[in-house]
């Protein structure tokens, strides 16, 4: 690991507002005309102290006295910002500390009622052909024992119920929540739960249980009915939009947004997916907001079936959609997940440097109890790290995820390095066959989302 990372400043304009983001300090600046030009000058010429102290006009730059004076004033400001560390700030690094396991993704069901065309889990079974596809109570308990036993000094853990469709193994979801709560309580700790569902099997009784245990809910809806039903159908080919929206509305009814209300659990996120078929995906997000869901996320399909996977040539159109969506969020108070940037209270240093923690702080458990570095890589033997009964027997498989990150390769040169932590390692693996090279299409989209998020943050500060 290098001793420090080089300074990086990103200058951009969005909706008529000129902004600059300093990667090293996490400083967002709004620029006037003079600052915009002076900063552009430095970004072309380099930003060594000597260059900052005094820089002659660029070829073709107006040379009248008034403009010279304004430009000089802006240059002096830039120099003082640099001296204070808020602009062109280098980032000292120290070795990452040994990570501790804190979270498990429990694949309680490798089954699903649906056969979504873009599903990375091959319709829920991750390509498996044998076995029931359902986690047993004993395996679930062993997973909780493994989690708490792996990190005895931790007192707050996270468990995500995932699949397939986790509600297809409802008895194990319930029992695991009870068991984990009891086990954590014996050591004065607490487990935070989340559950990702297509909503088809979410009944009022089940929701009431999830509410009582403050289980975070993520419900899958892709947006407009035609968009959703084109790809999210049952195994028998039936559309699912109506049932999914009914479930999301049910969940939203017991968990309204805002503080101090009647909420019985965290406000649910409605999460969808968009493909090449709906490059106007902002309309799907806005549709969901206008249905009454206050928190929405839409994820791009960057791999999978060629007719659905987004392509590099789609980036300009997608960027325009993100900009449109950011404007609507500013005007109407919508919360789009990828724009909810929290620079001052966001992730810790380790996460900013090394991303999500998959493979070390976070592992995935299959119905049979096998441990994988990431939920997206279940079935890839090179990422199987062990099993819940014998623990981690192949630590090198998890440590592969520590490769890359912001301290090396092209990410170390990027202005967004501390916002994405080097990006999704699974996406990198699917694109490049290794986890240390950032995924190119996702990287381009991520940077546009950060621009929108920074712009939105600036708007909210006004």
């Amino acid at each position: 690991m290098p001793a420090s990372l080089p300074p990086r400043v990103h200058r951009f304009e969005l909706h008529g507002v000129r902004l600059a983001f300093d990667a090293g300090s996490g400083t967002l600046l709004e620029l006037d005309e003079a600052a915009w030009r002076v900063l552009g000058d430095y970004l072309k010429r380099g930003f060594e102290p000597a260059a900052l102290a005094s820089s002659p006009p660029l070829p073709g730059e107006p040379g009248n006295g008034r403009e010279d004076a304004v430009a000089e004033e802006a240059r002096q400001e830039a120099g003082r910002l640099r001296e204070s560390g808020a602009l062109f700030s280098a980032t000292p690094l120290t070795p990452r500390l040994e990570p501790v396991l804190k979270a498990l993704c429990l694949h309680v069901a490798h089954r699903c009622q649906m056969t979504c065309a873009y599903c990375f889990a091959s319709g829920g079974d991750y390509g498996e052909v044998a076995g029931s596809g359902l986690m047993t109570p004993a395996t679930a308990r062993a997973a909780i024992d493994f989690l708490l036993g792996s990190s005895p000094d931790v007192r707050r853990w996270a468990v995500d119920f995932f699949g397939g469709e986790p509600l297809l193994n409802w008895p194990v979801v319930k029992e695991t929540i009870h068991y984990a709560e009891r086990r954590a309580a014996t050591v004065g700790g607490r487990v935070h739960f989340t559950l990702t569902t297509n909503g088809l099997a979410l009944s009022p009784a089940r929701l009431a249980f999830l509410d009582r245990h403050a289980v975070g809910l993520i419900i899958s809806v892709d947006g407009r009915p035609a968009v959703h039903d084109a790809l999210r159908r049952t195994a028998s080919g039936r559309p699912t939009w109506s049932r999914a929206v009914k479930a999301a509305r049910l969940a939203a009814s017991t968990r309204p947004a805002g503080e101090g209300g009647r909420a019985t659990g965290p406000t649910p996120w409605v999460r969808g997916t968009f493909t090449r078929r709906n490059l106007d995906f902002a309309q799907d997000a806005l549709f969901l907001f206008r249905l009454g869901f206050p928190q929405v996320s839409l994820e791009p399909v960057c791999g999978g079936p060629p007719e659905l996977a987004l392509r590099p040539e789609d980036v300009p159109a997608l960027a325009g959609q993100y900009e449109l969506l950011a404007g609507e969020c500013a005007a109407n108070g919508f919360r789009f997940y990828h724009f909810e940037l929290d620079l001052s209270g966001g992730p810790c240093v380790s996460r900013r440097i090394a991303a999500c923690g998959a493979g070390s702080e976070y592992l995935t458990v299959t119905p049979e109890g096998d441990l994988y570095a990431c939920h997206q890589l279940v079935g890839h033997d090179g990422f199987r790290v062990g099993d819940v009964r014998h623990g981690i027997t192949r630590p090198e498989a998890g440590r592969r995820f520590l490769e890359g990150g912001v301290a090396s390769g092209q990410c170390s040169e990027c202005w967004a390095r501390f916002l994405c932590g080097g990006g999704c390692r699974a996406a990198a693996f699917f694109e490049h066959g290794e986890v240390g090279i950032p995924p190119s299409l996702e990287c381009a989209l991520q940077k546009k989302r950060w621009e929108c998020a920074l712009w939105l943050a600036a708007r909210r500060q006004r």
Binding site: E30, C348, S350
Partner: protein
């Protein structure tokens, strides 16, 4: 244990110290001041919770609020 939002204090210091007509600091996380030193509290070493589950919403890194700030 965790000290409440040290980066906020650093960021405010930047904003208060530097008021200019051309470059307006909207906000500063203050990372250059302290947040990247691993001997400071906002670090996974001392973190008693996990933020990994948040990434499951998007299957990527999130910049949602640190759960420490909401931990009971």
């Amino acid at each position: 244990m965790h000290a409440k939002k040290p980066v906020d204090e650093a960021g405010r210091a930047d904003i208060e110290e530097f008021k200019t007509p051309h470059f307006k600091i909207v906000f500063s996380a203050g990372w250059h001041r302290e947040a990247y030193r691993t001997d400071l509290p906002r670090d996974c070493r001392d973190c008693q919770t996990s933020c990994q589950s948040a990434c499951k919403t998007s299957c990527t890194v999130s910049n949602q609020s640190c759960p420490l700030d909401n931990a009971g």
